[in-house]
């Protein structure tokens, strides 16, 4: 962040369209019952505290950080499952790429089981799969990683609910108010449309934005499928800086 924000330069991010996001209280997803605030959110134009945000140098990343097939391997062999590459572009609402930003992802293994002590699903643990990775987007906002396709799994929400195959994403952007956590689903998966967590999103077009497309042309022969998942962060109004009065 350079320069001084001039007085009155309030509201420098596009307002969040909360009808596009899931509301806080969604009874079909029972965990929200005691965790949804009841009061209205306080409207607050972002100040410098929210317009700035942390950055992460590439030095934080190791060579296998974006390789979930190998980054937790205990015996040097690959994780079990359908091999795939996931890639995409991080953009803002103005369709401008968001470069040099941290993207983190985590997922269940091919059987649908997480490496977590509280995990209750019977599927086997894969000793060579940790289920976590991260990337920093390149100068055009692109990230990519290698993994195995996660399995669907049951959860006790309504006794016999199942989650579709999915990967969790955490994305930073360049402002703390752009912070976003979401999930990626897979094109053609019938499980998407019966999931109470997916259904927290009221608009079908919004759900469609979370479905990664099979990218057949970038599929690696005899190796890995390829899926594309673009992520859109909040747009930034052009900001007036004292040292950059023409905007940015």
């Amino acid at each position: 962040m350079s320069g001084i924000i001039l007085p009155g330069a309030d509201g420098m991010l596009f307002q969040r369209d909360r009808d596009w996001h899931p509301p806080a209280d969604t009874p079909g997803y029972k965990s929200t019952t005691f965790r949804a605030p009841r009061h209205s959110l306080l409207a607050l134009g972002p100040t410098r505290s929210e317009m700035t945000g942390p950055t992460f140098g590439h030095e934080k990343l190791g060579p296998l950080d974006n390789d979930l097939i190998r980054n937790f391997s205990q015996d040097g062999t690959d994780a079990i499952g359908q091999r795939m590459i996931v890639y995409g572009q991080v953009l803002d609402e103005n369709a401008r790429p968001v470069p040099n930003t941290l993207v983190e992802y985590w997922q269940a293994n091919a059987g649908g089981r997480y490496r977590h002590k509280k995990e209750g699903y019977l599927a086997a643990l894969d000793p060579n799969f940790g289920g976590f990775g991260r990337s920093i987007t390149d100068e055009n906002g692109f990230y990519h990683f290698r993994t195995i396709k996660p399995g669907a799994y049951p959860w006790p929400n309504n006794g016999n609910d199942w989650r579709p195959a999915h990967i969790h994403f955490s994305v930073f952007g360049h402002a703390f108010a752009q912070r976003l956590i979401t999930q990626m689903y897979f094109e053609g998966d019938p499980m998407i449309w019966q999931c109470p967590i997916v259904s927290t999103i009221p608009d079908k077009a919004a759900i469609d934005q979370l479905i990664a497309r099979l990218d057949r042309l970038n599929t690696t022969p005899m190796d890995a499928l390829c899926y594309r998942f673009d992520i859109v962060l909040r747009g930034r109004r052009s900001t007036m800086f004292e040292n950059k009065l023409e905007g940015n």
Binding site: M1, W20, L42, L44, D65, K118, S170, R179, T182, S238
Partner: protein
């Protein structure tokens, strides 16, 4: 182009799920060997000016149960009221004070940040805002990350004129953002629901 037309919709949020610790604090939940240290665990990397403090955040749901499965992130200015400057891509520079912290909530729903007390930051009206820390909370059952702030009880004078605190019409609810001082430790309890529900922001 001061007011360009948006052409894309923001990607919809989804819950971080019960296993957000796997993705954001893997070492904390026993997934070791992938990354050296969990990001945001340490905020001070060298000699920094300012008062060293611990910030203890506890998070409770509407039934008063601690959130054992969440993550809290904070973002704040340094003692001079400045935010950490971006390091260039490929740079090995790590600021002495990062301004950013991330901690997993423990079984007791508690997260501890070792940091420094922030200085005042200019507000949108040109006047300084009272010293504060921005907070972001995610967990199972939180469909979109909750944003709020922590203010300091020993900054009563600055708090009284703070632009954000004064937007909270019910003065009793302003108290939900004020951390209590206990030596060099500041404590703030976050309540997602109920009589003591914290004020959360749409920004």
């Amino acid at each position: 182009m001061l007011h360009p037309t948006p052409t894309l919709k923001e990607t919809p949020s989804q819950t971080a799920g019960p296993y957000v610790h796997i993705g954001m604090t893997p070492n904390f939940c026993g997934i070791t060997g992938v990354i050296q240290a969990d990001l945001g665990k340490t905020m001070i990397n060298g000699a920094v000016q300012g008062e060293r403090i611990d910030v203890v955040i506890r998070v409770f749901d509407g039934a008063g149960v601690p959130l054992a499965d969440g993550v809290v992130e904070i973002w704040q200015a340094d003692a001079g009221g400045n935010f950490a400057v971006a390091t260039a891509p490929g740079s090995n520079a790590v600021p002495a004070f990062t301004g950013w912290g991330r901690q997993a909530l423990s079984e007791a729903g508690e997260a501890v940040f070792e940091t420094i007390k922030p200085g005042p930051v200019p507000g949108p009206d040109g006047k300084p805002m009272a010293p504060h820390i921005a907070l972001w909370i995610v967990a199972r059952g939180i469909n979109i990350g909750l944003q709020t702030r922590l203010y300091f009880e020993d900054e009563a004078e600055a708090n009284a004129t703070d632009f954000v605190l004064n937007k909270i019409m019910d003065k009793r609810r302003r108290e939900t953002l004020i951390a209590r001082r206990d030596g060099s430790t500041y404590r703030l309890d976050i309540h997602l629901q109920g009589d003591k529900e914290t004020v959360f922001f749409d920004m």
